[in-house]
């Protein structure tokens, strides 16, 4: 009995760590949705770009993880602005669903560009090995803890930016009502680009963290993307605190599900939760009722 409890506690702990990393691309996805008005499936490709950009710096130039994370953010963010300008902006006025499909094509383009350059082989970051820390009966992986800490710091920074700065207010205002924001003098096109930078940057930074924790290949983002959507939908599409909460729920649910399900089906858990929430509580845990 105690064993089972310990096992569940350990899995929940792992789930929180997973959720913390998942929260970053989920925030990116939900932020992009709130401001640009369509589900941007290209987060998967941008996540992979961040992972590879970080991998190059880490393995070829020996940069430590803390220095690589911001670089992954910037690489994916710059690419995000580029796709915003080249793909999304020219399609302005198209139905949101058209933009969503276009974003799938963007993801395909990016992932295949990586495949062209790096092949399908798994690669890992070059990081010092560290032994697990044991507290009571629970094991903590130092790598995972570091990863979760970085994720939490990034989220707090983002939260502060959105809540307490003039720029953050402008972003939230644009998400609420873009034409009203323009009337107030806000450059909404620039805000959309900034959001593309931040949203895709978050995906890129999480790509580095994931890569450091496991291994990378061009489909690293694609494999995660279902969990990212699930986090955003469970939390309430468009809500940033919701994305964080949703990511934790998905992270824990995925880990705990391994008690009864083969671990290959982890990503099916996210899908089931999406269906459940859309059927019974479509606005998610923290989403707003949209009139």
């Amino acid at each position: 009995m105690l064993d089972v409890l310990t096992q569940v506690a350990q899995l929940a702990l792992n789930g929180i760590m997973t959720g913390a990393v998942l929260a970053m691309p989920a925030i990116g996805f939900t932020l992009l949705y709130a401001v640009l008005g369509f589900p941007n499936f290209a987060v998967s490709g941008h996540l992979a770009v961040g992972a590879f950009a970080g991998w190059i710096l880490n393995t070829h130039y020996g940069w430590p993880l803390w220095a690589v994370v911001p670089f992954g953010f910037i690489a994916a963010g710059v690419l995000g602005v580029a796709t915003q300008r080249v793909v999304v902006e020219p399609l302005r006025g198209a139905a949101s669903i058209t933009l969503a499909i276009a974003s799938v094509a963007v993801a395909l383009l990016i992932e295949n560009a990586l495949r062209f350059g790096f092949g399908n082989t798994l690669r890992s970051y070059d990081l010092p090995l560290a032994r697990d820390v044991t507290i009571g009966a629970l094991r903590f992986g130092p790598q995972q803890m570091q990863t979760a800490a970085v994720a939490i710091v990034v989220m707090l920074l983002l939260f502060a930016l959105l809540r307490y700065t003039r720029l953050g207010r402008a972003i939230r205002a644009t998400a609420d009502n873009a034409s009203l924001a323009a009337v107030k003098g806000i450059d909404t096109v620039a805000i959309a680009r900034l959001v593309a930078f931040v949203g895709m940057g978050l995906a890129g930074a999480s790509g580095v963290l994931l890569g450091a924790d496991t291994a990378i290949d061009p489909l690293i983002g694609f494999r995660l993307v279902l969990a990212v959507f699930a986090a955003a939908v469970v939390g309430g599409l468009g809500s940033i605190p919701g994305a964080v909460l949703g990511a934790l729920v998905i992270g824990i649910a995925e880990e705990v599900s391994t008690i009864v399900l083969p671990s290959d089906y982890k990503s099916a858990v996210g899908f089931l939760l999406i269906l459940l929430f859309l059927t019974f509580r479509p606005r998610g845990l923290l989403g707003e009722r949209r009139n």
Binding site: R169, R172, N177, G185, I186
Partner: protein, 232 residues
Amino acid sequence: MEVRDVVAGYGASDEILKGVSLAVGERELVCIIGPNGAGKSTLLKVVAGLLRPRRGTVAFAGNVLTGAPPRQIARAGVAYVAQEQNVFPSLTVRENLLVGSYLHPASAEQRCRSMMERFPVLRERKDRAARTLSGGQRQTLAVAAALMAEPRMLVLDEPSAGLSPKVTEELFATLAGIRAQGVSILMVEQNALAALAVADRAYIFVLGRNEREGAAAAIAADPEIRRVFLGG
């Protein structure tokens, strides 16, 4: 503000405005009235930069602003308040005011305080999300947020829509006060008699064209206009 021969519409083929002109002088309160489909709101959208006119010009304080983006028009000193969805629902009352003076960040906090002094309903609810406000409170917030931009001219689309007569009266009294402080006002109003009572001059639009114009009092007194446009 000088609008000349503006032609505009939404689709590729339709023309809602078929050539309208008007002028608003400094410290003037001008009101546009007319039946539904006359193009009143469409003209305000053109003035605010939300709709590019097909022909004609819009000039303000000597600058030609025809087809300029809303941002540039805001910068020129024109503040537009739409009929609906004129506040940011998920932002708090205070945040709505601060975004109102987005172009004047230095004085934003101080103006925000004085605006809340002027409108106590807003001060009492300053940390509530705007979506929780009642219709009248929301309209007050929309006007206050527009004033945060330190505008030289206020453009209002049906400010009294959906408000009770008492709240409408208060709102028009507020507008008269704003005008007295040197802000010119252009508004479209369904509630024509109440609007004419506070306006200096008025225009009547019919089917996208100018029909009549004149001093507000004269228009309100004209028996034919009363019969056709003012329902009495």
